[in-house]
């Protein structure tokens, strides 16, 4: 195995554009009781949900398809792959909650297959036949996916891995998700702040094209985001999140980080804690709370950050930090390195 660096050479993101203010259905007592319970604990009364617009964007699988096409085109891969069957390309796909197709009233077996097993149309459309799997990583899905991509590329199993997935909103799930997140937060000794009565959720689909840093030189893609560091650390032993040891970026103090992206967890209190811990390591870095900047894209939050970043001209080092209830936290340090 060669330990060469990897890069992101393309990205695609489709965001839900149908704005909706969620109110619990009158004929649904369970939904109403959940809403009331969460309101009491979190102070949230207004759930602003941007869903996929069925008329203009299609259903969630159409959004998956569009985001994937966009990423492939950005990476300059679209035509090349269509010419021949490629066993050197694979897909790592994730959603937020595993099988959920049965939550839709009009679900069909074909949708169950594409949505809950694997969106095989992505493979068929691009003649991709390499190692492809579905990943279960929730809010840390992107980081696990990038680590898997790096492992597959560096071992020689694949040349290119397209990492990404979809986030769909279901009232039962985002209400109870918030409750569980707050319970976890309290168990880790972080007080709940009820200051905001609004919460913004965005349905979205996003993909990143990952390959070895020197692999795309002959293609037309001008985009490149170098992955300088990707590591996970365990937060299991910490009874309080305040005890986390400097976010475990040991050895990375020498890298001049200019921007830190935080808040992928969706809770402001956690973002503040992340900010506090990172301040010691990178005192001059600008901290961006992704929830405040864009709202909550759940498992697509990280892709949103990288997608926004890859399309700007800044060439500084940035850090993306993620902490989820699975007991793991991740650091990703990246730099724009566009071709001139």
């Amino acid at each position: 195995m060669l330990n060469y660096p990897i890069s992101i050479s393309g990205s695609g993101l489709v965001e839900g554009s149908k704005k909706r203010l969620f109110v619990p259905r009158l004929n649904n007592k369970y939904e109403q009781s959940l809403y009331e319970k969460i309101e009491k604990t979190s102070g949230i009364q207004y759930w602003n949900v941007d869903q996929f617009d069925k008329e203009t964007q299609g259903r969630h699988l159409d959004a998956v398809s569009q985001a994937f096409e966009q990423a492939m085109k950005n990476a300059g891969l679209y035509r090349k792959i269509n010419k021949k069957i490629s066993q050197r390309i694979g897909i790592v796909y994730f959603n937020m909650y595993g099988p959920t197709s049965f939550m839709n009233k009009e679900f069909q077996v074909k949708e169950m297959y594409q949505s809950d097993v694997f969106p095989a149309f992505l493979l068929n459309n691009h003649n991709i036949t390499g190692y492809s799997v579905r990943l279960r990583g929730e809010r840390n899905g992107l980081f696990q996916g990038l680590e898997l991509a790096r492992t597959l590329i560096q071992s020689g199993e694949l040349d290119i891995v397209v990492v990404g997935g979809v986030f769909q909103t279901y009232s039962y799930l985002y209400l109870t998700e918030m409750q569980a997140a707050l319970d976890w937060q309290v168990s880790k000794k972080i007080k709940i702040n009820k200051a905001s009565s609004e919460y913004a959720l965005h349905e979205s689909a996003g993909f990143l094209v990952v390959e070895a840093s020197n692999a795309d030189e002959k293609r037309q893609s001008k985009l490149k985001l170098d992955i300088n560091e990707l590591n996970a650390y365990s937060a299991l032993k910490a009874n309080s999140l305040f005890e986390l040891p400097s976010l475990n970026t040991v050895g990375q103090e020498s890298i001049d980080i200019e921007q830190c992206y935080l808040g992928l967890n969706g809770r402001d209190e956690i973002a503040q804690l992340e900010s506090m811990l990172l301040k010691d390591l990178y005192p001059s870095a600008k901290h961006v709370n992704t929830y405040k900047e864009w709202g909550d894209f759940a498992n697509i939050n990280g892709i949103k950050v990288l997608h926004e970043h890859i399309h700007n001209e800044d060439n500084h080092n940035s850090l993306l930090h993620s902490m989820d209830r699975d007991g793991s936290a991740w650091n990703l340090i990246f730099t724009n390195n566009h071709k001139k």
Partner: protein
């Protein structure tokens, strides 16, 4: 030069067998798993739209027993995974504390956590107070019943894991596909040990999905028989410990290495349709790939464990592929799916436990069936137990998502 990766321990849990040695013994004795109806009564059956009885082996009793054994663990699924983990580490003569080391990682080949539809399907789209009064299980309609970390987190906490668990799924080839990143991380020196657990709970969602695809058996599941009318699923957990050969200890004598693996996706030929069928060409290409990677000729393969799920079209494809590559060679073929039940994502993991027995004891436990295995004609299937030295063993796994994985195992000569 890549280091060799060896299997140093194994363990399992299913309705058929609750340890590796029980699995081997029961297969050798010719026993079959007992299936039970998925729906306890006709009302439930009709609620899900079924006209016929469907059966499965759900591991219900064992899971409840394990909850008593592991009192600190509140979830049945986690208790079962912990039990298999302890079996694997005991088999490899290691203390479970090695899992808390930074150089060890855990991989799950599994679709992961998902809820039991039966708990809330009737109340999913509308409900009144009176409905909720009668259905206390409506609270299962909660993010925690869907999120995978409600299982990974207590498991990680129990063993104090230092690294996150990587859960990958490719339907019924998940066990072997989870081994691919595990082996890559071992060979790179990133880790020294990889515990690969493969498992799939047979939920009402799975039953509904498989019935929608018309692959659940109505009468009998007879892999490699034209009389088979589908598969009969079983909830099983299989675990293996992978280590680099340069890292093993004196007390261990692994008998085989994972020589090569090959994974691919079969295309359906249409951009808009699902890859529900896998062509024999894709299967034979995958097997040829793994032989090429290993530098082994088809004539040198001694034993093959096919996937054999009981879906006639899939079994026929696999037989055609095996016939294309191996019909003129000595390779023997054997399958145990009918006896154990179809173990879905864990099926490849269970076969690796049997491979361990085959290498260690130089024997092949024969295939047994309650039907006529007419698809096995002209192929070298083993119907009587035999003692034979196995040098190369090939294992195939096929997923309904179009995934195919082949794995080539090679004997280690300790002399």
């Amino acid at each position: 030069m890549y280091s060799k990766v060896v299997v140093t321990g194994a363990g399992c849990l299913s309705d058929f067998a609750q340890t590796s040695s029980e699995l081997v013994t029961k297969l050798a004795q010719g026993e079959f798993v007992r299936f039970q109806p998925v729906f306890e009564n006709n009302m439930l059956k009709s609620m899900f739209g079924f006209e016929h009885d469907v059966k499965y082996a759900p591991l219900e009793n064992a899971r409840k027993k394990l909850l008593k054994q592991y009192k600190a663990i509140k979830k049945e699924k986690v208790a079962a995974l912990v039990n298999v983990t302890e079996q694997v580490l005991a088999d490899s003569k290691l203390d479970t504390s090695v899992l808390a080391q930074k150089n060890t990682r855990v991989f799950w080949g599994s679709p992961g956590n998902h809820p039991d539809l039966l708990s809330f399907i009737r109340e999913l789209h509308s409900n009144e107070s009176i409905d909720l009064l009668f259905n206390k299980k409506i609270t299962d309609l909660h993010a925690d019943s869907f999120r995978n970390d409600t299982l990974t987190q207590p498991y990680a906490e129990y063993f104090q894991l230092q690294n996150p668990i990587l859960t990958v799924s490719s339907a019924c080839s998940s066990a072997l596909n989870a081994m691919i990143p595990a082996i890559a991380m071992l060979q790179s020196g990133q880790i020294d040990r990889a515990l690969v657990l493969s498992w799939q709970e047979v939920s009402k969602f799975d039953i509904l999905f498989m019935s929608g695809l018309n692959i659940m058996a109505k009468q009998s599941s007879l892999p490699f028989s034209k009389n088979s009318d589908g598969l009969m699923p079983a909830y099983g957990i299989a675990g293996i410990l992978l280590e680099r050969s340069d890292n093993i200890r004196d007390e261990q004598t692994p008998h085989f290495t994972v020589k090569a693996m090959s994974s691919r996706r079969a295309l359906s030929g249409s951009a808009n349709s699902a890859s529900m069928g896998v062509s024999f060409r894709s299967i034979s290409q995958t097997m040829q790939d793994v032989l090429d990677k290993a530098g082994v000729a088809a004539k040198d393969v001694d034993l093959i464990y096919p996937h054999g799920n009981g879906i006639t079209a899939s079994d026929q494809s696999e037989i055609s592929a095996l016939s294309q590559l191996f019909s003129s060679h000595k390779a023997k073929i054997v399958s145990y799916t009918e006896q154990t039940g179809y173990l879905l994502a864990a099926s490849g993991g269970f076969d690796l436990i049997l491979a361990k027995d085959a290498f260690e004891n130089s024997r092949i436990i024969p295939i047994r069936s309650k039907g006529d295995l007419d698809l096995t004609q002209d192929m070298n299937f083993v119907f009587k137990e035999c003692q034979t030295d196995i040098k190369c063993l090939l294992k195939n796994s096929i997923g309904i998502d179009g995934s195919i994985v082949s794995c080539l195992l090679e004997r280690i000569d300790h002399a």
